[in-house]
């Protein structure tokens, strides 16, 4: 039997038989359309005219001077339509769903950014949309729940398990198995069974392609370091991918360290996890000795996931990328720092990447270059950060 969709030993298609034909159908459709010039042209057009690509590569002059190390550029995925990188993947997958003749799209969401992006594209394409979201996350991200509903999507709360992202994925997978003939499952990250990790990375790789071209135009050379936050890992794969062959470029993923990777309360999968099989893939997961998936903890609903995409597990294993863990406190400080220093309020997810940059940039030389992927904007997080800081906004 062939081992398809593998990154080294990671990846695969560990899903129930009921969805195997749907997975194969998707795989065939993706292989066909990803080589179809018409499809690619349509997608590029949507990227440019709907999602507002290319996103800026912004030189963070004040931050550079303040830190006194590498020159810092910020890839502004927060400026995309819907406010994060998630729109890139949602456009790709929903366009593919349309081509496949599917009428209904389901998605899971953690922070709500992927749910909002999917609901947005479904509104644009007149598709029925249902988003599964952990009850706990619905409370943390009430604004995004309302946004999805405004966009015409049905948001279904998930109470099982820890009522967060992994449970929303479980429920979306159950829905998919039940409504297999009509429904397209739009997974939000570089995870799940093949072809999702590859397909989602391909829909996100435009981030790195643009960044490379933009930095070459601005500086005439490649960066020395690229930093991104990692939950499932889609924005990071998106900006890393085009730089993987450029071995002089250090790739750094910032995981959610919660209250600290040495406590029980974190989501630092590669720092603390073990090899396992879950959610359709062989990868690294936070789990106990019995293989029960561990509850995770992070201030960021978008990074609050006990696994990681298989390609990241592979980059970690081969040493091509480094992964460090950033605590909630460090992320909140970085959130405040970027707001004050550059006038940019980052998503709390992206603030983990900023926090990693705050640690690494000062250790670099002044003639070196760093790019931070700012995967999303922070409007959705303001209330939660206020709560974290003990400020009562009365909203």
């Amino acid at each position: 039997m062939s081992k398809i969709g593998r990154f080294g030993d990671f990846g695969g298609q560990y899903v129930p038989e009921t969805v195997m034909n749907a997975v194969s159908e998707l795989q065939e459709a993706y292989e066909k359309y990803s080589k179809d010039p018409e499809f690619l042209k349509e997608l590029q057009d949507l990227y440019h005219n709907y999602a507002f690509r290319p996103s800026l590569l912004y030189y963070a002059d004040k931050m550079t001077k303040d830190l006194g190390g590498a020159k810092i550029y910020i890839k502004r995925e927060d400026l995309n339509h819907t406010g994060s990188h998630k729109i890139n993947n949602a456009l790709g997958q929903v366009l593919l769903a349309k081509k496949m003749g599917k009428k209904r799209v389901i998605a899971e969401t953690g922070a709500g950014q992927h749910g909002v992006a999917t609901a947005t594209v479904c509104a644009y394409f007149d598709m029925e949309c249902e988003v599964y979201m952990g009850r706990e996350d619905m409370e943390r991200q009430a604004l995004n729940v309302y946004r999805m509903e405004l966009l015409g999507a049905k948001v279904t709360g998930v109470d099982s398990g820890t009522a967060t992202l992994k449970d929303a994925i479980n429920e979306a997978m159950r829905d998919w198995a039940t409504n297999i003939a009509t429904t397209f499952y739009c997974i939000g990250s570089v995870m799940g069974p093949h072809p999702y990790p590859t397909m989602v990375r391909d829909f996100q790789k435009i981030i790195g392609e643009e960044a490379k071209q933009q930095i070459l135009e601005a500086e005439g050379r490649l960066p020395d370091c690229v930093v991104a936050c990692v939950g499932g890992g889609s924005n990071a794969m998106g900006i890393f991918y085009d730089f993987i062959p450029d071995t002089s470029v250090r790739l750094v993923g910032a995981e959610a360290g919660g209250k600290g990777a040495d406590t029980e309360f974190h989501a630092a999968t590669l720092t603390k996890g073990d090899l396992g099989i879950f959610h359709g893939m062989k990868s690294v997961f936070l789990q106990n000795d019995e293989g029960q998936i561990a509850p995770v903890f992070s201030i960021s609903a978008g990074l609050d996931y006990p696994g990681i995409g298989p390609e990241h597990a592979y980059l970690h294993q081969t040493g091509r990328a480094d992964y460090i863990s950033i605590t909630d406190e460090e992320a909140v400080q970085a959130f405040e720092y970027l707001s004050r220093t550059e006038g940019i309020i980052p998503a709390v997810e992206s603030a983990h990447a900023v926090a990693a940059a705050l640690k690494i940039a000062p250790t670099m030389q002044k003639d070196q270059i760093m790019i931070i992927n700012l995967s999303g904007r922070g409007d959705k997080d303001v209330q939660q950060i206020a709560r974290y800081r003990g400020v009562n906004l009365n909203v």
Binding site: Q13, T18, M20, L275, F278, I293
Partner: protein, 265 residues
């Protein structure tokens, strides 16, 4: 090496009977209750029993088994080791085929070789892994075969075009899922069973049994008429969920009803 599953089907065939296969969520109400319930089911007409090892995230299960799994983990801290110990005790009391139904990560995490060695040691005859499709069977096949443990294959109404390859490689019995979706009791089915089972009959060289949604004797009779046996899970788990320590008479009554229905099929 012979396997109790093959022996059982041979025996049933000689008696012109169909197999009643029941499922129980291990550790729901505690493993002592599970042990007693297994023996009670055997006494009341079950031929083969699937013991479900609880998992934190059972993506193929409906509400009933999800909740049983959660109760087992939360209230009784059920571990794989404890399930194996229970099977070891059961083996001294019964010679019926016993299978484990569990998610891929439970096997993988305990070390695939060590897991299947242990299966043989305690007398497990087969495993059913809902998140291990045909394409990934290699993951466990070698270790399973070395220990004469069958890795049971599943086909579903959404397996169009896949039944031939799955059925021809299957061992023990072929698990035919009655309808798309997750486990759970159903009031009606939308599958075209004549078409589904005629496709299966064409390719299966081993007995094939149907599961998912069978809740009572009437359904056992109807579904049993298509194949060599029926698999009943959520209906059993529901009795244990509702009556907990007092569940045994209810489980016995259900098995008797299923047996009567199946014997009419």
């Amino acid at each position: 090496m012979s396997n109790r599953i093959d022996e059982k089907f041979k025996q049933l065939k000689a008696q012109n009977k169909k197999a009643l296969i029941t499922y129980i969520a291990a550790g729901d109400g505690g493993l002592d209750l599970t042990e007693k319930a297994v023996l009670e089911m055997e006494k009341n007409g079950a031929d083969i029993i699937e013991i479900g090892v609880p998992f934190s995230d059972p993506i193929a299960e409906g509400k009933v088994i999800q909740e049983a799994s959660l109760r087992s983990l939360r209230d009784h801290h059920t571990t794989l080791k404890a399930v194996f110990a229970m099977v070891e005790k059961l083996r001294k009391q019964t010679d019926m085929p016993l299978l484990l139904m569990l998610y891929a990560n439970t096997i993988f995490r305990s070390g695939t070789d060590a897991f299947f060695d242990k299966c043989r040691e305690v007398g497990i005859d087969g495993v059913i892994v809902p998140d291990l499709p045909f394409e990934e069977h290699d993951e466990f096949q070698e270790a399973a075969e070395r220990n004469a443990v069958y890795n049971i294959s599943l086909v579903t109404p959404a397996s169009t075009g896949r039944i031939e390859k799955i059925a021809s490689a299957a061992q023990g019995f072929l698990y035919c899922v009655s309808s798309v979706g997750v486990t759970g009791m159903r009031d009606k089915f939308s599958t075209d069973f004549d078409a589904f089972f005629s496709e299966i009959a064409k390719y299966s060289k081993i007995p094939y049994c149907v599961g998912f949604g069978i809740r009572n004797g009437e359904a056992a009779q109807k579904m049993g008429s298509y194949c060599d046996g029926v698999i009943v899970g959520s209906a059993v788990v529901n009795q244990i969920g509702e009556y907990q320590q007092e569940a045994l008479p209810h489980v016995a009554a259900l098995c008797q009803e299923l047996r009567r229905g199946l014997d009419k099929a």
